[in-house]
Subunit: 293 residues, 2 copies
DNA sequence: TCCCAGCTGTGCATTTTTGCATACCATATT
DNA sequence: AATATGGTATGCAAAAATGCACAGCTGGGA
């Protein structure tokens, strides 16, 4: 009888393109991956991967089964979620993911308390960049900053999010005095100059940065002007970073609290979701940019 | 990470209704089944089965996932077949199934030779009653006696099959002399008297039997008249069993040689299929009832 | 060109899983 | 009621899978 798990490993090698990467993803040793693939290949008398300089590429036979194995994967993932959805115990693991800025500013303390209150629940927090896949159960529950979540997830928009233009005190002064060549700090995916740069004289791109907290630090260090969601600069008591009095339209992006439909009746997920909602809601005015300094 | 194999075991318990039966089907010890189900249940905090007097019944949670797990099963089975379908080696296993009467009379010797010719191929023959499921890979290749095979199987009708009415010499004599209360030997699924019994005076059911070779022995022992496919009585040199000169319509049942579509390019399956076809075709006149004794 | 970093294959020790043997239980049968 | 049969749980030994450590290989960069 063939092993379903061997197909699971096949899929992860096909997706990652290497035994090592697959091993890391699956949390096993790379030799296990190697031997499982050997099993699968010799059991069926077919080579599934070709070893190339770019890692392991699927052979024709491998290509042929990829789609059905993917179906199998989706089915088992769904089964797993459906079972966890029936779990009414306040124990077990919650795989939680959110941008680290949200965690650091608002949720670190409440979650610490949560761990004390429910010692049987183990929280596994993922804040590394790159979205965790909720369909795969890479995460059970997520705080996401997004305009609109995918439809197979349920949850709600806790609040919309206001943005503002921030500089440090030094640049605030210079801009007020009509500084030329105003430097901008931008997200890497921005092409050319953003619309809001028209408020400045001869704006120049000074730096691209892909992380909000680093963008904040760049601004604080005097790197220039950046457009950031208000909650981050405004939630810390630091007078050296100032929001410019330039009104921004309310963004259609919001703070979302999300989980998979199949997990909607899980007791521990709901308990945690409730806690996160409570503590995020407390800061709604902040998210909406109410407290300019 | 959850194990796909645990779901495979869940499915087999759900289908068989007991740990022991599931263990036999999967070829493992029942304690393995028991422990795997425990894993699955405790990992998700849900009971999947309720132990009743009739074995293990699915709980609501178990019912909920049954369909998706079945999908997973179909997907992995298909993947497995597709891989075997790419196998161009003349080695490995062939799971073969057929009615034992066909094997005994026509294919035992050819298959013995096949094993000598291809020592790397191991034939696993299933002749026990109850159809093997080709979709599940319980069998790779089948000889079936059926009117029309399911459409996901490919293969061909080697021949149609003629039936005849058989008795032993003693009863042949008595019937010729107008015997009363002629006893019939029938298949258990026949309700009431079959149409062909109208050829006899006051026919009586003597026995039901669910196996062709046993039916033949019953007739030979003088149990009465039976309708059998001609090939079985006519392929053995035994003058004590005689076909009555009563013409039967040609049945729409045939001898089919079948395998799953996904295995159509497997070298060893095709080699074996070719051999079986050759030796069955040699006996087409016999199947059509040409050699009355 | 050489070195370095990352990836893969394999022997060996360890851990995990499995099978076996036994005990226990419930149902059906005598 | 006693016995037999089939199914299930569990301790312990055997077997299998895994991780580890090391070696070999490859491509990119100094």
């Amino acid at each position: 009888m063939h092993s379903w798990d061997d197909f699971k490993i096949f899929l992860s090698v096909a997706e990652t393109g290497s035994y090592s990467a697959s091993a890391r993803k699956m949390g096993v040793n790379h030799s296990t991956i190697s031997r499982r693939i050997q099993n699968l290949e010799s059991a069926h008398g077919v080579k599934l991967f070709e070893r190339t300089t770019k890692g392991y590429q699927l052979t024709d036979a491998g290509e042929a089964i990829f789609d059905v194995v993917l179906q199998a994967s989706e089915a088992t993932n769904q089964a797993s979620r459906m079972l966890s959805g029936h779990d009414d115990r306040l124990e077990g693991e919650i795989k939680l993911t959110m941008p680290h800025e949200i965690f650091d500013r608002f949720l670190a303390k409440p979650l610490a308390q949560f761990c004390v209150d429910y010692p049987q629940i183990k929280i596994n927090l993922g804040v590394k960049p790159g979205l965790k896949n909720i369909a795969n159960r890479e995460a059970d529950l997520a705080v996401r900053i997004t305009p609109e979540p995918p439809e197979y997830l349920i949850g709600r928009r806790v609040t919309y999010m206001q943005h503002g233009l921030y500089v440090n005190a030094h640049w605030a002064e210079k801009i007020k005095n009509g500084a030329q060549n105003v430097p901008l700090v931008l997200w890497p995916h921005i092409k050319g100059l953003p619309e809001w740069s028209s408020h400045f004289s001869n704006p120049q791109v000074a730096m691209y940065v892909d992380d909000l907290s680093s963008m904040y630090e760049a601004v604080r260090a005097g790197m220039g002007v950046a457009r950031m969601p208000c909650f981050y600069p405004d939630s810390v008591n630091d007078a050296s970073v100032i929001r410019l009095p330039i009104e921004q339209d309310l963004s259609n992006w919001g703070i979302w609290l999300l989980n998979h439909v199949d997990l909607r009746y899980s007791a521990r997920i709901n308990k945690c979701k409730q806690l996160l909602a409570l503590h995020l809601e407390k800061h709604i005015p902040l998210f909406l940019g109410a407290f300019s300094k």
